[in-house]
């Protein structure tokens, strides 16, 4: 039996409210809040990036897994904001954990789907018997261009999952992947901010792939929405995951524990993995959990997990995701936010 043996989250403590961004660009905050169902988003400090947040989330996962980090055979980091263009994030993370030198590492990129890709590969290497323990991390310090709609949502956070065969917290029932070539969101080489297709990111992109993956995995396992206790969808804004849930026949109560986006923003590769971490924080033994990610470009990964009795023993060994989200916040003004995100720079 394979599955998650440890999981951990990390969310920076800085926040900026939708009103603060809207004030600068002269937009109507209430309509953004209503339209996108967003209130505020997390912002990394200048000394935080995908690598530092991945290390913190991974350490939290290790606290729950209680394994020797030297036994981890694979460290995979999924992000669209790897700090280096050339040089892996994974080597720094693995070194900080003490997982080197006998480990495989790779950095994954697939817009917001990179986190679940890293989980998909780490988990399936454990299933194949190639490695004893594998770790998949989803982390991003995503950027939205000043004044663009993305600026209200692009946030920062990380979640890490360690997979193994013993002392499992959530058993893997099945995985599924669904993807096509759909250019709904992209960032070219040397460009600082991404571009997107506006409304094209909706029906032919997010909704097609998320419903495709969710229906595919449910059909393969002869399951229906009511067979699940919880479901987590990728959360580019508050509205999309609730709407796709309704389209598929899920109830709001199944979605809400992992729906963090209204207070967190879109953490890109960290988005659905953080939703899964928050859901495991409250899940009971025997609960069935479906997670469906989405990455522009475009595709979705889906996983079905069954929570085990072991969850009760490990849950409180590391910070709970909702505590990281709701406690110890530091609200920024737009000027500080612009400095933190390097939208403005000090003269040399």
């Amino acid at each position: 039996m394979e599955g998650i043996i440890g999981y951990g989250a990390y969310i920076p403590r800085n926040r900026i409210k939708v009103e603060e961004i809207a004030k600068v660009w002269g937009t109507d905050a209430p309509s953004y809040k209503r339209g996108l169902m967003l209130e505020e988003k997390s912002v990394p400090s200048p000394d935080q990036d995908t690598i530092t947040m991945s290390v913190e989330a991974s350490k939290n996962a290790l606290k729950r897994a209680k394994i020797d980090p030297a036994d981890i055979g694979a460290v995979y980091i999924g992000s669209e904001s790897h700090p280096y263009a050339v040089k892996p994030s994974g080597t720094v993370v693995a070194e900080a954990l003490g997982a080197t030198p006998e480990a495989h590492t790779a950095d994954f990129e697939f817009a917001c789907k990179a986190g679940t890709e890293s989980m998909f590969v780490a988990l399936n290497l454990v299933k194949a018997g190639v490695i004893k323990f594998g770790m998949g991390v989803g982390a991003d310090t995503s950027q939205g261009a000043p004044g663009d709609a993305l600026e209200y949502s692009a946030a920062a956070g990380a979640a890490a999952f360690i997979f193994g065969r013993d002392k499992i917290v959530a058993k893997i029932v099945d995985t599924y992947a669904y993807m096509t070539d759909t250019p709904d969101f992209w960032r070219r080489e040397y460009q600082y901010y991404p571009q997107h297709g506006g409304r094209f990111t909706g029906e032919p992109a997010y909704f097609k792939h998320v419903t495709g993956a969710a229906r595919g995995i449910m059909q393969n396992n002869d399951m229906k929405p009511e067979d699940f206790d919880y479901v987590i969808f990728h959360q580019p804004n508050g509205k999309f995951p609730l709407r796709v849930g309704k389209m598929l026949g899920f109830k709001k109560e199944q979605i809400e524990p992992g729906w963090l986006v209204n207070k967190l923003g879109n953490t890109y590769s960290g988005s659905s993995p953080l939703g899964l971490a928050a859901t495991l924080d409250i899940a009971k033994p025997g609960d069935m959990v479906l997670i469906v990610s989405y990455g522009s470009g475009a595709g979705s990964d889906a996983f079905i997990f069954k929570v085990t009795d072991h969850i009760e023993e490990v849950r409180n060994l590391a910070p709970l995701t909702r505590d990281l989200l709701d406690k110890n916040k530091n609200y920024l003004e737009y000027g500080e936010y612009a400095k933190f995100r390097r939208k403005i720079r000090k003269a040399d």
Binding site: P46, I51, V55, K59, E95, A96, G98
Partner: protein
């Protein structure tokens, strides 16, 4: 400005707080040493420092070295870890007026500085308030 090789040499300490301990007089050294300065014992064991401690003293740096110029003003403190070892490090995620001597802190992995616009990124530990 450091070079990649110097940064690389310090990775075990900067990333993992690797220290060593004299198995005769039980003193812990950070960074690790080749022999115990107390009893000259060369048989030192590898150990790892704890990641929680308290602020012994601190100051606010307003005129920083060149590679920290973007970060000033910032707080630097001497932190005594739970195993008694004292380290110097930045105290972040905390307003200056909230930093207190005796305050509990924990270690977090952060970017220490960047070597200009094109050089390596240097990571290591900093300290953040620990509310428990």
């Amino acid at each position: 400005m450091s070079t990649p090789s110097r940064y690389w040499r310090e990775i075990p300490q900067r990333y993992r707080l690797e220290a060593n301990k004299c198995n005769r007089c039980e003193l812990t050294f950070f960074p690790p040493r080749l022999l115990c300065p107390e009893c000259k014992n060369r048989k030192l064991e590898k150990s790892k420092l704890t990641e929680k401690g308290k602020v012994i003293t601190y100051t606010i740096i307003r005129v920083p070295p060149a590679q920290f110029s973007d970060q000033a003003p910032y707080a630097v403190g001497i932190i005594e870890l739970e195993d008694g070892v004292r380290l110097t490090g930045q105290i972040v995620d905390c307003a200056f007026e909230d930093i207190k001597i005796g305050m509990k802190v924990k270690l977090e992995f952060r970017k220490l500085f960047e070597e200009g616009h094109a050089g390596i990124l240097c990571y290591g530990y900093k300290f953040v308030p620990h509310g428990e």
